[in-house]
């Protein structure tokens, strides 16, 4: 089964085109790591899949249903959640308020309790304003908020950004656990170690297109290609 299939997707802002015909697919329960240099359109792709940027053409199929161009709340209800770049937590809300809001109207696969079991640090911070949390805790909150909408597909945009290695390790373990729970992942990352640890396939973007897609093992074995596409050894 294919959880997500993107076909010839184009999108952009005002008159500038950022995505110029994206094709990709992620099987149910799979994890695709999306790599690429800054400014190639990775975040725009994630925002377009969530409905926060309007596509100009193409299809976004969730379990075979085209959701391209739908409002973000309808896409969320179709089973997609986002952990956006920069976390974008609601700083003036407490952790408890954030979790309570995210739970509203969704199923009960993930509850506040089960999410807090997974992210025990947040349990100690329930009464605290989200804006006062550390960067790692804010990232945990952004992940918790996304999980409470019961997603079948979780979009993560650089969850390791600005975090200490120990916290990145925790996120890596958490994402692996989520995969075990059957959640399909699309992970945009600059941290190759995290992408390699979590994802079974790696795709690379350049200038609004997917230019390379292989298994993680194949990507790791082909250093020359990684160096050419990403500028890393």
């Amino acid at each position: 089964m294919t959880a997500l299939a993107v076909e010839a997707l184009t999108a952009g802002y005002d008159r500038s085109t950022v995505l110029s015909g994206i094709d990709l697919s992620v099987p149910t329960g799979g994890a695709l790591g999306l790599l690429g240099r800054n400014g190639v359109g990775k975040s725009t792709l994630v925002m377009t899949l969530m409905g926060l940027v309007s596509p100009t053409s193409g299809r976004v199929l969730l379990d075979g249903r085209d959701v391209a161009g739908l409002r973000p709340d309808l896409i969320a209800r179709a089973g997609v959640a986002i952990v956006p770049q920069g976390r974008r937590i609601w700083a003036s809300l407490s952790v408890a308020e954030t979790l309570a809001l995210a739970t509203r109207g969704h199923g009960r696969r993930w509850t506040v309790d089960t999410v807090l079991d997974l992210l025990p640090r947040l349990r100690e911070r329930l009464g605290q304003q989200a804006g006062q949390l550390s960067g790692g805790e804010q990232q945990m909150l952004a992940i918790a908020r996304a999980l409470l909408t019961d997603p079948a597909l979780l979009l993560l945009d650089e969850p390791s950004d600005g975090l200490a290695p120990a916290i990145v390790d925790q996120i890596s373990q958490l994402l692996t656990t989520l995969r075990g729970e059957g959640v399909t992942l699309l992970l945009v990352e600059q941290d190759l170690h995290l992408a390699f640890a979590v994802c079974d396939r790696i795709a690379v973007m350049e200038k609004g297109r997917i230019v390379h897609e292989v298994t993680t093992a194949e990507f790791r074995a082909d250093r020359a290609t990684a160096h050419r596409l990403l500028g890393v050894a």
Partner: protein, 296 residues
């Protein structure tokens, strides 16, 4: 009491009464602007509609039934008008503030014209309900009882709005929407509904403020632009989307309007807009407007 306080007590109380009224008027404007980035210049017109509803129902004679009826009718009109304005401004949400301002200013002009056709050019009086139309002695100074009650009603409404925004799920949803409405949509909330709800409640408060302000200001064409400017100053000083900011801004502007005019009669307008300019220069987001959005 010190001599200064005794001499200016009436002005201070007047400032509190004006501040209470301005808070009720401005908090809806602040939340709608802060939450949905919609600039509603018809907000002052809603206030005047409330004032005319009060004038029409009381008919110039004091009656509790007519006054409470006016409050109820104005509340219903406010809810419906807010819902309608929310729907009308929805297509302009991602357009510039100028487009929104032109649309809502057009609505305000149409409402003002209709009121003029219906009620004529002459200002109408709105009597205070029986029992509140006299005066009360405060430290030897006679002060209109209605204005004292207005201060109390404003305080109760301020606490009510604070509790609604700070202590309820709807309030949390409003604060989250002010902070980042895209992320609210991303958890599956149709934020058009949140916008309609807040628009309707904010407009209800504006029309109710019009009724409450009736015995102070009466009902007259042109009052809408006066109160709209004051409300905008309150919102800018207090900070967008902040209930606390709206309250503090309203109390400050109330005192500037009243005490400022008493102490510096020639400079009152300068003090009002000077305070606005000062806040814009020193703290452009307003006293309580945070980068993260709504605060209670």
């Amino acid at each position: 009491m010190t001599g200064w306080v005794a001499a200016n007590l009436i002005s201070v109380l007047n400032g509190l009464a004006i501040g209470a009224l301005l808070f009720v008027l401005a908090v809806g404007l602040s939340l709608v602007f802060g939450m949905m980035d919609v600039l509603n210049l018809a907000h002052g017109a809603l206030f005047v509609v409330g004032a005319y509803v009060a004038a029409a129902l009381t008919g110039g004679s004091a009656s509790w039934g007519a006054f409470l009826g006016a409050l109820g009718l104005a509340a219903v009109i406010g809810l419906l008008a807010g819902g309608l304005l929310s729907v009308m401004t929805e297509p302009l949400r991602r357009r510039s503030h100028l487009d929104q301002a032109l649309l809502t200013l057009g609505v305000a002009l149409i409402v003002a014209e209709l009121l003029q056709i219906l009620f004529g050019d002459d200002p109408l009086a709105v009597p205070a309900p029986p029992g509140l139309d006299g005066s009360t002695s405060i430290f030897g100074a006679a002060y209109p009882t209605y204005r004292l009650v207005l201060i109390g009603v404003g305080a109760v409404l301020a606490v009510g709005v604070w509790l609604l925004v700070e202590r309820t799920t709807l309030g949390a949803l409003v604060r989250a929407t002010v902070a980042d409405r895209d992320m609210v949509a991303a958890i599956g909330v149709d934020n058009r509904r949140v916008k309609i709800t807040v628009f309707a409640l904010g407009s209800l408060l504006a029309t109710v403020a019009g009724v409450l302000g009736g015995p102070v200001y009466g009902a007259s064409v042109g009052l809408d632009s006066t109160v709209l400017i004051l409300a905008l100053v309150v919102v800018v000083i207090g900070g967008l989307g902040s209930v606390r900011g709206a309250l503090v801004g309203a109390l400050v502007i109330g005192q500037i309007e009243s005490l400022g005019r008493a102490l510096l009669p020639d400079l009152a307008s300068f003090v009002l807009f000077g305070a606005l300019a000062l806040v814009l220069v020193v703290r452009p987001r307003g006293l309580f407007g945070g980068r993260s959005g709504a605060t209670a």
